[in-house]
Structure formats: structure tokens, C-alpha cells
């Protein structure tokens, strides 16, 4: 195409998509943080940021990022050097990889894998590695506690999430993200698979460490959880990764259950963003209403309730598909 020999063309295409995803994640983190502060403000009858970027404070997060850029990136003497230094990169890498298979439009998909869903699950599972490295690396008792909790919570919520995705895969008949979106042309899967949507959404709240399951930085208990010893840009990466995973899981939920980029008049990507940010808004709304669950109750809920429910859901889907 365009007179560029084949190997070079796909390299350029990959570089462009990679840059787009990384820039999208950076911009989205800024927008999500601003949105969170505005939504929490409105819920708590206050205004939220309005000093930087006068009327609605749109430049507030940009100012924060510059502040974090300038802040000193402290590494304590007694930390485990390389584990501490590499920890922030892993969650961020996990989320960028997750966006590889998310379709943006008609044939706007960075990587059209025919096992897209499996790839998504595989990639999000090593996000917990980064948080555990942070907890262990910073040689701080509170951080270690936070890391242990995060590991337990995230692993135990992988299973219901995977099973919910499996249910969607079964109804769509394929694991390819494009096929899933096309299968929802007439009816979005949320109507066909409401239970799977609920399970997936609750599990994604635990994945993204959102209240009522926010264990990484449970302020009132562990002071600041795994990323307590970080400061400056390194801490910003963790923050970026947290909001990235929130938007990431919402994007996948939108693709799987709300019909991804399909929508009446507006172009594909716009619909995709609207649906994603709708789910992000719901996550923020839940965060500023519900209290936090204790770690053992979380694990009980995950193993003893969500998992059996997910298995039952798959069974029912199987039977229904068999009968059709």
C-alpha cells in the first residue's frame, strides 16, 4: 500500500497505533482524574477544582502532572533497588497492552487477534505483579501489608472476570473482539447477559482497586498502601496506571456488553468513548457512596458468591445456546 514495501508498512502502522494508545492513556488519565474530582465534588455539594483553568478547572490535572514532574523522585536507602525502580512500569505496560485489542471503529482495530478476549485477560493478570513489587521493594511494613492484600484481592477476582468473559465469548460464538461487536449489532449483550455484566463489572471494580474494593491505597487503614514510598513521577505512573485500568476495564465492558462502537448517527470512536466514560462515571459514583469491604469479606464474596454465580451463568448460557 502507498508504494511502501510490506514489512515497513506494518511497522509504521504499529508505531502509529502504539503512540496513539500511549497518548490516549496519558490524556485519559488527565481527564479521568479531573472528572473524578468534579464528580466527587458535585456529589458532596462542593465545586471541585476551579482555580487552574478558571471556570471549570480543566487545567488542574495538567498542573498536577507538571508539579509531579518537578517533584524529587525519592528512593529510600533500605529499598530493594531494582524491584523498587521497575515496579511502576508494569501496571502501565499491562494497560497499554490491554488497549491493543480494543476496536475503535469499523475496521479501526490495532491488532485484530482472533483470540482477543483471551489476550485481554492474560494481559491484565500481571498488573498485580507491579503492585506487589512496589509493596515488597519499598521495605515498608504498611506497603507490605497493602501489597499482600492487593495480591489476594486481584487474584481472587480474576476468576469471576474470566468466566464472565467466557459467557460473552460463548454467546458471540468467537473470541475475536470484532466478531463480538458485530454480534451485538441488533441487541447489546447487556440485555442478553445481564448477570455476566454484573459479575464482570464488580470484578473490574476489584481489578481497578476502586471502592468498595480499594485495597491498594486504603487511606483510612494502611495510610497509603503499596505506593507509600513513591514520590514524583514514579508515583504519577502508579496513579496513571490506576486510572488507566479503570478506563481500560470500562472500555472492555463497553465493547463486550454495550456494543462497543456501534451506534446510530455518531461515528464509531465517539460512541465508544461515550459508553466508556458512562461506565467510568458509574464507577466514580459508586466510589463516593459505598464504604469499603474488609479483605476477608471481599474474598468470601469473590470465591463463595461471584464464582458459583459465574459458573451457573455459563451453564445456563450453554444450555440455551444448545437449544437454539
Amino acid at each position: 500500500m502507498f508504494g511502501i514495501p510490506e514489512p515497513w508498512w506494518s511497522v509504521i502502522r504499529a508505531v502509529v497505533w502504539a503512540l496513539f494508545i500511549i497518548i490516549f492513556l496519558a490524556v485519559n488519565a488527565i481527564v479521568a482524574v479531573w472528572l473524578e474530582r468534579k464528580v466527587s465534588g458535585r456529589i458532596q455539594r462542593r465545586i471541585g477544582p476551579q482555580r487552574v483553568g478558571r471556570p471549570i478547572g480543566w487545567a488542574q490535572t495538567i498542573a498536577d502532572v507538571f508539579k509531579l514532574l518537578v517533584k524529587e523522585d525519592v528512593r529510600a536507602e533500605a529499598t530493594d533497588k531494582w524491584v523498587f525502580l521497575l515496579a511502576p512500569a508494569i501496571p502501565f505496560a499491562a494497560i497499554t497492552l490491554m488497549f491493543l485489542v480494543v476496536p475503535w471503529g469499523k475496521n479501526l482495530i490495532p491488532l485484530n487477534l482472533n483470540i482477543g478476549l483471551l489476550f485481554v485477560v492474560a494481559v491484565t493478570s500481571f498488573e498485580v505483579l507491579g503492585l506487589f513489587m512496589a509493596g515488597w521493594g519499598s521495605n515498608n511494613k504498611w506497603a507490605l501489608l497493602g501489597a499482600m492484600r492487593t495480591a489476594a484481592a486481584m487474584i481472587s477476582y480474576e476468576l469471576p472476570m474470566v468466566l464472565a468473559i467466557l459467557a460473552v465469548g460463548m454467546t458471540a460464538g468467537s473470541l475475536n473482539m470484532n466478531d463480538v461487536v458485530n454480534a451485538q449489532s441488533r441487541v447489546p449483550f447487556i440485555l442478553i447477559q445481564p448477570v455476566a455484566f454484573l459479575i464482570y463489572y464488580i470484578a473490574s471494580l476489584a481489578e481497578a482497586n476502586r471502592t468498595p474494593f480499594d485495597f491498594t491505597e486504603a487511606e483510612s487503614e494502611l495510610v497509603a498502601g503499596a505506593n507509600i514510598e513513591y514520590s514524583g513521577l514514579r508515583w504519577a505512573f502508579f496513579f496513571l496506571a490506576e486510572y488507566g485500568s479503570l478506563v481500560g476495564t470500562s472500555a472492555i465492558a463497553a465493547t463486550l456488553f454495550l456494543g462497543g462502537w456501534r451506534g446510530p448517527i455518531l461515528p464509531g470512536p465517539v460512541w465508544f468513548l461515550i459508553k466508556t466514560y458512562l461506565l467510568v462515571y458509574v464507577a466514580m459514583w459508586i466510589r463516593w457512596t459505598l464504604p469499603r469491604v474488609r479483605i476477608d469479606q471481599l474474598l468470601d464474596f469473590g470465591w463463595k458468591f461471584l464464582l458459583p454465580l459465574a459458573l451457573a451463568d455459563i451453564a445456563v448460557t450453554g444450555i440455551v445456546l444448545a437449544l437454539l
Partner: protein, 232 residues
């Protein structure tokens, strides 16, 4: 966990979400203090200031009652003999340590002290937190001096509710009353010019200069000119 429990739990969570959603639609209740002036209630206890006669003379008779009444002893008073009677020469008040407990105002038998609703007391150094007679006079002028056209009256609170219980008689009592009578000022109890509006927006009434400049610190040596007895 029976199914009924889960149903009830889901309904309760939904109701909780409903409450927060409802709150979102209401108007925020933030008041933008540094931009818009903060309104302070009429009887707000900020800084005890010296009451002044229309002639600028302080009604304080240097009887040291407030010095004894203060639990932490932050009021110092130097006296000087003026025609064989003790008169107040310099009044020093460490506002930084003041508890704002109003005991000094209540202990004063001559209603010479009153609480000004001043709350912008922050300063970069410890120095401006020590107020002298002239600083207090500026504060008094800022809050209690009658506006143009109004005839002189004492701050309403000297006569009304926030004074010593049952003691607010309206006009300064004791030897000062005779002296005041000579100046021909009619002192109607309860404030002739009517009580200052209940919710005086503190920042707005004072033109541009903020309270901090108004109480620029003047050490005793600065007020050399004043030494030769009061204005009258």
C-alpha cells in the same frame, strides 16, 4: 447468604446511590471566602479592643481589672499620673496567645473593652500579633466608629447581649460618665445610630486596604507624639 438478603442488600445499595445522585443535582454550598468577603455574625469574638469617646479619648480608667481577669495574662497596661489621677498610658495585648474567652470584657466595670469581630489575624512574623493602643484604636474605628452623618453612639454590644451578664447599662459608668457628660455628647443606650447591620460583610465595608494594613504595628516609640496625654 439467602437470596432475600441479597435482594434487600441490592435495594439498599441502590437507595444509597439514589441519595448521592439526588445530592448531585442540588446547588453546591461552597462560599468562596478569599474572593467574596466572609460574613461574620454580629457578636463574633475576635479581638478585644478599647472603646473610644468621640474625642478619640479611651474610656479605660486603668483599673487593671482586665489584667487580673485574663487567664493567661496577655494584657499589660502602663499607667501615668495625669493631674493626680492614674490614666492609661499604653495598652499592650498579645493577640497571638488570646483565647478569645471574653473574660476581660466581662470583668471591665467601665465597659471600656469590647470584642471586635476581627478574624483575619494571620501574619508572617510574631511581631504584628502584639497589638498596642493605636492598633486597637484602628480596629475600633474600623468596626464601631459611626458612619458619616450618624451621631456618635457606643457599640451596641457594649450595651446589649454580649456584655457582662446583667451589667450592660448602656453608658460607661463610674467617674468617666461625669467627664463624658461635659463633652455634650448625648449617649443614648442601645446605640443611637441603630445596631450595626447584623451580618456586616467584614471585608466589603473597609475600602481596599485589608485589615492587616489597618493594624500596622506601631511600637510605643512610634507614638511619641501621643505621649503628652490624649487628644482632648
Amino acid at each position: 447468604m439467602k437470596v432475600a438478603d441479597i435482594g434487600k442488600a441490592a435495594v439498599n445499595i441502590a437507595k444509597g446511590l439514589g441519595v448521592t445522585f439526588g445530592e448531585q443535582l442540588k446547588k453546591p454550598i461552597t462560599n468562596f471566602y478569599p474572593d467574596t468577603p466572609a460574613t461574620v455574625k454580629d457578636g463574633y469574638r475576635g479581638v478585644p479592643v478599647l472603646v473610644q469617646l468621640p474625642t478619640g479619648e479611651f474610656t479605660c480608667t486603668a483599673c487593671m481589672a482586665c489584667v487580673r481577669a485574663c487567664p493567661i495574662g496577655i494584657i499589660q497596661l502602663d499607667t501615668v499620673m495625669v493631674d493626680r489621677k492614674r490614666a492609661m498610658d499604653e495598652f499592650r495585648l498579645e493577640v497571638g496567645r488570646c483565647l478569645q474567652c471574653n473574660l476581660c470584657v466581662e470583668s471591665c466595670n467601665f465597659d471600656a473593652l469590647v470584642m471586635a469581630p476581627e478574624f483575619e489575624l494571620a501574619s508572617y512574623t510574631r511581631e504584628p500579633l502584639v497589638l498596642y493602643k493605636n492598633d486597637l484604636a484602628k480596629l475600633y474605628a474600623k468596626y464601631f466608629w459611626p458612619k458619616e452623618g450618624e451621631e456618635h453612639h457606643f457599640p451596641a454590644r457594649v450595651t446589649s447581649k454580649h456584655h457582662a451578664p446583667g451589667a450592660g447599662t448602656g453608658t460607661p459608668r463610674g467617674p468617666r460618665a461625669a467627664k463624658i457628660a461635659q463633652t455634650g455628647v448625648t449617649l443614648t443606650p442601645g446605640g443611637g445610630g441603630g445596631e450595626p447591620a447584623g451580618k456586616t460583610p467584614v471585608g466589603a465595608s473597609v475600602p481596599a486596604e485589608s485589615a492587616r494594613e489597618a493594624t500596622g504595628t506601631t511600637r510605643p516609640q512610634d507614638t511619641g507624639a501621643q505621649k503628652a496625654g490624649e487628644g482632648a
